[in-house]
């Protein structure tokens, strides 16, 4: 049979395809619906948080940080509760990462505050003297893309039935409403910050990346 396949490239290719395709089907498909279910009480990200997640993606924090607390005592002692599948139900993409050059961030909102992040992102060494994490000063001047974050929320609501605007849930509303809500949220965070440029920008109706990023990190609990 193998000799015959070698002389019949079409059937050879079909054969290879069948052999390589079904592993994926069998491992991914059976639990798909189950794995997509959120834990009770999980709310979709607000537009500001989504914009912050975009900053996290844009600067590839996953190159050095995980968001997955594994079921070991050493990890729950260090980071907090073990991560559950349903907690990630609104994470598109998932951001578990594969390398912990820095600590896990899945529960960072429980033990770091806005002003701590502000100092740390401006200059990590000011908080942890031997840190090897880069400073991200451009987050203090670049403006976050609220429009795109809104577009993403609209998309996941429309296509994947992410429950925005549900009772007691995260409100999305119209484009204008969403922008106004994001700015309100940003004002609260900027209120806890000291950087003057950031405060001025928010007062002028703009949201610097750092504010969105902190909103996102505060949400990770």
């Amino acid at each position: 049979m193998f000799h015959w396949l070698e002389k019949n490239p079409f059937f050879f290719a079909v054969g290879v395809f069948i052999v390589i395709a079904f592993a994926g089907l069998i491992t991914v498909v059976p639990d798909f619906a189950q794995s997509a279910r959120p834990v009770a009480g999980l709310k979709p990200y607000t537009v500001l948080e989504l914009a912050g997640k975009e900053v996290y993606k844009k600067d590839h924090c996953i190159a050095c940080h995980s968001q997955l607390v594994r079921p070991f005592k050493s990890e729950t002692d260090r980071y907090g509760q073990v991560s559950l599948s349903g907690e990630y139900a609104y994470d598109r993409p998932f951001l578990w990462g594969s390398k912990r050059t820095g600590p896990d961030l899945h529960r960072i909102g429980n033990y770091r505050t806005t002003d701590w992040h502000e100092n740390h992102m401006w200059n990590p060494k000011s908080v942890v003297p031997t840190s090897i994490m880069p400073a991200y000063r451009h987050h203090f001047t670049n403006i976050a893309d609220i429009d795109t974050a809104y577009a993403e929320a609209v998309t996941v609501k429309a296509l994947f039935a992410t429950p925005y605007d549900a009772p007691n849930g995260t409100k999305l509303g119209s484009h204008e409403e969403a922008k106004a809500a994001a700015l309100e949220e940003a004002k609260v965070i900027a209120g806890n910050m000291k950087n003057k440029d950031v405060k001025d920008a928010v007062a002028n109706g703009q949201v610097p990346e750092i504010v969105a990023l902190i909103a996102y990190m505060n949400r990770l609990k």
Binding site: E6, K7, A13, V16, V19, I20, A21, G24, T27, V28, D31, F32, S35, A36, Y56, K58, D59, H60, C61, I62, A63, C64, L68, R70, P71, F72, K73, S74, E75, D77, R78, S83, S85, Y88, Y90, D91, R92, P93, F94, L95, W96, G97, S98, K99, S131, I132, M133, P134, A135, H138, D145, D147, T148, A149, Y150, A151, E152, V154, T155, H175
Partner: protein, 488 residues
């Protein structure tokens, strides 16, 4: 596989891809060495403002090495090997020549766009699948063009039976196509929201745990179908060709090929051990990773035994030396992977530097050495000149071997040290180390790893210089060498 004097093969497309292999090899590894240095000396993060941080450059490094250097190497060798094992010249078909050239130019444009968009921060943030959707579309087109090339040239072949290398090239084509398509299923938000926000942005069709499953099914197997399968295609052609020895066992080739195809795709779950994916998927990942040793070692042993009784060539011919070392590293890294996939080891190894250590003994040791050896073998045949300098190949060989060994030993130690420190507890059961303690301790290893990178990179520059000299100013050859590549 005897040479066919009547046929003039046309290497124009192979030459184009040879050029990008060298270009992206240098670019990818310069960035790699820089980011390695950043972990030892963080001040290096600020060389080019927001574009120069470790995190912005790391995807650039991985993608340029995977989709720049390695893919170019695969295509350079494919456009060389394909014609020869099928006994037909590209010059015989105007259509295929045109497809081959469009394939190259579209790829090159796509690659440049990819580099620019990643630098600017457009990213889906899925490892090795960072490109945003417009780049994905270009990649799919490039892939289709390659498919037309493969099946086009197979369609007009004279040699009816496909040689082993062709099995592996066809499998590469199919495997990557399937994986890439499914993993990059994403929706551009601009269109769904009626024109709001950035047109480049998209959102993944899968969420959370499902996204992780699909991503690591892709991530692991992209390694399979870019860093393993086509490299085996190369060694099956170039080692016998350079040494003048027939492949040791046809049966072993068969077994290894179909075994690899069947087993590899199951092993992705080992990236998700102790995560929130279902337990059985994790266990399957572990089990199949261990089974994977069989077909992997099957190929490697088949290659080593091909040299049976001819080991003197190892000292006489530096290209044989490169290829044999390359398959030895293949064996090393395919035993290391399964070890890391075992649950108890994974608990320590996962998230540490042992993982990049593993990747690099595979890619620096197996993939890159094999590609460079292949290009050296092709150069005298494509450019009709002898290889510029044997001495330089020897120098390159030793620099790179030292580099690889320093690289993986330092990261092994770093990874295991860190993994153990994260979990260490004192007599009362409290954690012994704060996180930053476990970072501080790595500094010496990061320095050694940077030195290792510099050594390897120096080897790559020597390789590039040697190749360019071969193309332009080496002694010309009147006749195509049968086996051993002539060198000065």
């Amino acid at each position: 596989m005897q040479s066919n004097a009547a046929l003039e093969y046309d290497y124009s497309v192979a030459k184009l891809f040879t050029f990008t292999t060298i270009l992206f090899g240098i670019l990818g590894m310069v960035i790699g060495t820089l980011i390695a240095a950043q972990l030892a000396f963080p001040e290096l993060n600020y060389l080019i403002g927001e574009y120069g941080t470790f995190s912005r450059l790391r995807p650039l490094h991985t993608n340029i090495v995977i989709f720049g250097f390695t893919l170019s190497g695969i295509w350079a060798t494919f456009y060389y090997v394909g014609q020869r094992v099928l006994k037909v010249s590209m010059a015989e078909s105007k259509f295929l020549m045109a497809i081959g050239k469009i394939h190259f130019y579209l790829y090159f444009v796509g690659a440049l766009l990819a580099v620019i968009t990643l630098l600017l921060g457009f990213s889906a943030s899925k490892e090795y699948a960072e490109f945003e959707w417009p780049i994905d579309v270009v990649i799919v087109l490039v892939w289709v063009l390659w498919g037309i090339s493969i099946f086009g040239i197979i369609g007009i072949r004279r040699e009816k039976a496909l040689y082993v290398s062709m099995w592996y090239f066809v499998a590469t084509f199919l495997g990557v196509a399937m994986l890439y398509l499914f993993n990059n299923m994403e929706v551009p938000t601009y269109f769904v929201s009626g024109g709001i926000g950035n047109i480049m942005h998209s959102v993944s069709m899968y969420s959370g745990t499902n996204d992780a499953m699909v991503q690591w099914w892709y991530g692991h197997n992209a390694v399979a179908f870019v860093f393993t399968v086509p490299i085996i295609a190369m060694i099956y052609y170039f080692l016998p060709k350079e040494s003048g020895q027939a492949v040791y066992s046809y049966k072993l080739s068969l077994l290894s090929f179909w075994g690899l195809m069947f087993v590899y795709l199951w092993a992705g779950g080992h990236h998700l051990v102790w995560s929130t994916v279902p337990d059985w998927v994790q266990t399957m990942g572990t089990v199949f990773s261990v089974v994977l040793i069989l077909p992997s070692w099957g190929s490697a042993i088949n290659m080593l035994l091909t040299m049976k009784g001819e080991w003197n060539q190892l000292t006489d011919n530096p290209l044989i030396k490169l290829m044999v070392l390359s398959s030895t590293f293949y064996m090393l890294s395919t035993i290391e992977g399964p070890i890391q996939a075992i649950k108890s080891v994974n608990a320590i190894a996962h998230f540490t530097d042992w993982i990049p250590g593993h990747v690099h003994d595979g890619v620096l040791g197996w993939v890159a050495l094999m590609i460079m050896a292949a290009l050296f073998h092709m150069a005298p045949r494509m450019y009709k000149r002898e290889i510029y300098s044997r001495k330089l190949i020897e120098t390159q060989f030793w620099l790179q071997t030292t580099g690889i060994v320093l690289y993986f030993t330092s990261l092994w130690i770093a990874g295991i040290t860190q993994g153990m420190m994260w979990r260490a507890v004192d007599e009362y059961g409290n954690l012994m180390y704060s996180f930053i303690d476990t970072v501080d301790v790595l500094h010496p290893y990061y320095v050694i790893r940077t030195v290792a990178g510099v050594l390897y990179l120096a080897g790559v520059f020597i390789f590039a210089y040697n190749m360019i000299k071969t193309m332009t100013s080496s002694r010309t050859l009147t006749e195509e060498p049968m086996f051993r590549s002539p060198m000065a």
